[in-house]
């Protein structure tokens, strides 16, 4: 482990924040994606994540480049456009002990990769699935993506006439047990949600509105920093308490709702605007739809159901990583082959 400065604070594993960084970003200065990377680093540091257990997956896009920019101690797999979910599926089955982080874009997940997104969520793959959502294809220079708002404009003046696909309501519809929306301009909220996400066992879908400063930050855009800031409605003040700290923390009674994870970690939710119950699936859907009609972004923990078995559990896999099983566990004996041969005679 490397130490950034002699005085740098360490987490419970003895790592400094510097131990959670990656290579230098090559994205445009001011790109929302970089703010997300920064919060992944913070949350992993604060959550005492073992870096060597982290695997980072992505498709193709500016957003999909970012796994190279955090947690160098973990393994990365930058795959092909829109197919990150199947990569996460395969690796998470091969080794149940990995901490899986998938980073994708709105183009990567809601257009070319829609099929894989839908099925990964349906299978409840144990992973944090981040969509860095800027409403355009950054890497191919600014074409509309499928999350672009109806009536929004490109820099060229082209108007989007088609309705957007919303990853959050879609994820809730598909049975996802942890769905949140954040804004890359609100680091505190992102940080809390990411920490809660690290403690969750199944698929976490995080749609993070992340402005593209180069292609979609103009006045007529609905994904510019200014527009999103003006239309961002944080639902609640969130607190996350990791299981190891639960003893030490008092959660104020009253308006605070507490959701407890199977490992004992807790999310404390204090409503800001109106009463919003993130454990009510149908209520959540209704509220999100209503806000979208008004052109607002409801941000925060949109839906949570802490007890949903992830795929390796559904498949009743052995606890040990499949990748480390030896020949003794895997190869049937000569007598067993003989028995099979007898049955074919």
């Amino acid at each position: 482990m490397t130490t950034a400065t002699p005085s740098a604070p360490t987490n419970k594993l003895g790592f400094t924040k510097q131990d959670y960084v990656g290579s230098k970003s090559t994205l445009c200065a001011g790109c929302g994606h970089d703010s997300i990377t920064a919060q992944i680093i913070n949350a992993a540091f604060e959550s005492n994540i073992e870096g060597h257990r982290v695997t980072k997956y992505s498709g193709i896009g500016c957003s999909s480049k970012t796994p190279a920019y955090f947690i160098n101690q973990g393994w990365g797999f930058n795959s092909v456009h829109g197919r990150m979910p199947s990569i996460a599926t395969g690796a998470s089955l091969a080794n149940r002990q990995l901490i899986n982080i998938g980073v994708s874009g709105d183009g990567d997940s809601m257009s070319i990769g829609m099929g894989q997104f839908v099925h990964a969520v349906r299978r409840n793959i144990p992973m944090i699935y981040i969509i860095e959502d800027n409403g355009v294809y950054g890497l191919t220079k600014g074409q509309f993506s499928a999350t672009a708002d109806k009536g929004s404009f490109l820099k060229t003046g082209a108007k989007n006439e088609l309705p957007p696909i919303d990853p959050c309501t879609l994820a809730i519809e598909l049975g996802c047990g942890f769905v949140a929306r954040c804004f890359s301009g609100n680091p505190k909220q992102m940080n809390t949600i990411l920490k809660a996400a690290f403690a969750y066992e199944g698929t976490v879908v995080l749609d993070i509105i992340s402005p593209c400063v180069t292609f979609n930050n103009h006045d007529a855009s609905t994904r510019s920093y200014k527009h999103v800031k003006d239309h961002d409605f944080p639902l609640h003040d969130l607190g996350f308490i990791q299981y190891s700290e639960v003893e030490d923390v008092d959660i104020a009674a009253g308006e605070t709702e507490v959701v407890t994870f199977p490992d004992g970690s807790k999310v404390a939710i204090k409503a800001i605007h109106e009463h919003y119950d993130p454990t009510d699936r149908f209520g959540a859907m209704k509220a999100i739809h209503e806000s979208m009609e008004k052109g607002e972004f409801l941000t925060g923990l949109l839906y949570i159901n802490p007890i949903q078995p992830p795929l390796p559990q559904v498949l009743n896999l052995v606890d040990e990583p499949l990748a480390s099983l030896g020949e003794d566990m895997l190869k049937p004996s000569a007598a067993e082959l003989d028995k099979i041969m007898q049955s074919l005679m």
Partner: protein, 607 residues
Amino acid sequence: MTASLAAPSPTQGAKTRINDFSIQVATVNGSGSQTANTVLLRAIFQMGVFVSGKNLFPSNIAGLPTWFTIRASAKGYVARKASNEMLILMNPETAKEDIAKADVGALVIYDEPLQLDKLRSDLAYIPVPFQKLVTASCPEPKLHKLVKNMIYVGVASRLLGIDMEEVKKAIAKQLKGKTKAIELNQNACVAGYDWAMENLPDQDHVKVVRDNKTQGLIIVDGNEACALGALFAGVTVVGWYPITPASSLVETFIEYADEYRKDPKTGKSTVAIVQMEDELASAGVVLAAGWAGARSMTSTAGPGVSLMSEFIGLGYYVEAPGVFFNVARTGPSTGLPTRTQQSDVELCAKCSHGDTQHINLYPGNMEECFQFSYDAFDLAERFQTPIFVVTDLDLGMQNWSSKPFAYPAKPYDRGKVLNQQQLAEAKDWGRYKDVDGDGICYRSLPGTPGGKGAYFTRGSGHNEYAQYSEKPEDYVAIVDRLKRKYETAKTHVPAPVFRNLGSDKGILAFGSSDPAVIEAQDVLAEAGLKTDYLRLRALPFTAEVDAFVQEKQVVYVVEQNRDGQMANLFRETYPALATKFKSVLHYNGYAIDAKCIVDQINAFEQK
């Protein structure tokens, strides 16, 4: 009741064909005839006679015509034979056409009301009152349709001289433990047998005579053999998507995994099997699982490989292992999904965009389906790359007799993987550094503790340390090393097998063409044309293949596709020898037969 067989028959006087004939059964798909046909095949097998079966089924669940051919051969020829000595016609839709195509002198068993006996005078007719016999033998009307087929098994058994006890045993074997069904089917069979005994005179056209050729042999299809190979190879992650003719490979694997891949202590599973949303996703699962250290596989056919091809290129370039079974069918597109072909040769050799070359294994019989499937996992991990095991519908879904599989005692080769300690000790490790000069680098697995060995896998340009790079020299160094790695594979893949009769004329074939080539070689030799035969078993071409094509004056490349795809690979690899390679082709969807090979080679020779 008199059968027209009693009348003077065109077959009279001809030599009896003992243990050397083909039967074709025409039925309607979904009528349960598969069971009846397999019972007939098994019964002949139990009589000690070499036998093979080909199911020519339609792409349909029920209602369309289907044919099943059974070939008995004392000499052990198991390829499809173009002519049939006995026909069993149960399908009114096709009966007239079947009669028109029948070979002179064939015995024709048919459903009496079809009144086929006026159509041709050069056949021997055996009308059978199926409905009457069914009604008498089976009390439950709703089962009549199913057991009706067993009546023809009884009739044919009596005519051929098959022991009824063997037939009964075959039924019990086929219907494993379903007591009531066994009894019902056996009764129907006996009814057919007894009726034939009373009403039909003996025939001397075709006969089964007890032999001892099949003692100790098994009957199996290639998909099951491959599934068993994967089971013993210890596959731990399977991502797949159903497609004919590949589905039964994974489906059979699932059945075996239920029994053999549970941790005895906890009852938990040691293999993850996921039916994915499509083949592209299956390929992602396979490569990522391989990357993470599992033994992984999928099973598909041509359309699936096409869909997977973007990922296969990634797997090749980032060097992720995985086993890809392609049970080929007749393409392009949906083509003839229930018919066989070897038309994905070029697809699997070079699958994906950019410069790609893949290791391909071509098993040619059941033992090889088992062994090569086992070996494929070793090769995948040794070479850190996608491996194709290419079979076809004929190997994969038809019944073949085989020696029992030998236990694969060779321990698994998990390839060049560095563990925590090795990583700690390694000096200047780079994921893509060719330390040993064989083109194969050392990898690390995600999750390895110790803070060493993490790297970033990317489909974009990278250098020896897996860092992003667009430098021309870095790119060239990587792709040239990949080519070196492919060269190394030449000494690791199965070498060809030879059947040399002593000639400078070569025949080269692979996979399911083998039995037809052997038979064709004998027919040609009897007529005075000797050939040497090389059966190719893998890509890349090994030194033995090289020597063969250099030596021979002509190489007849036998394959089951229109374009001579394998011959093309040879012409490309040996441009100076290009004119040596002559294509002998068969691509109508039926399994290749010896006659078509003999005819085409003779035509070339007469030029």
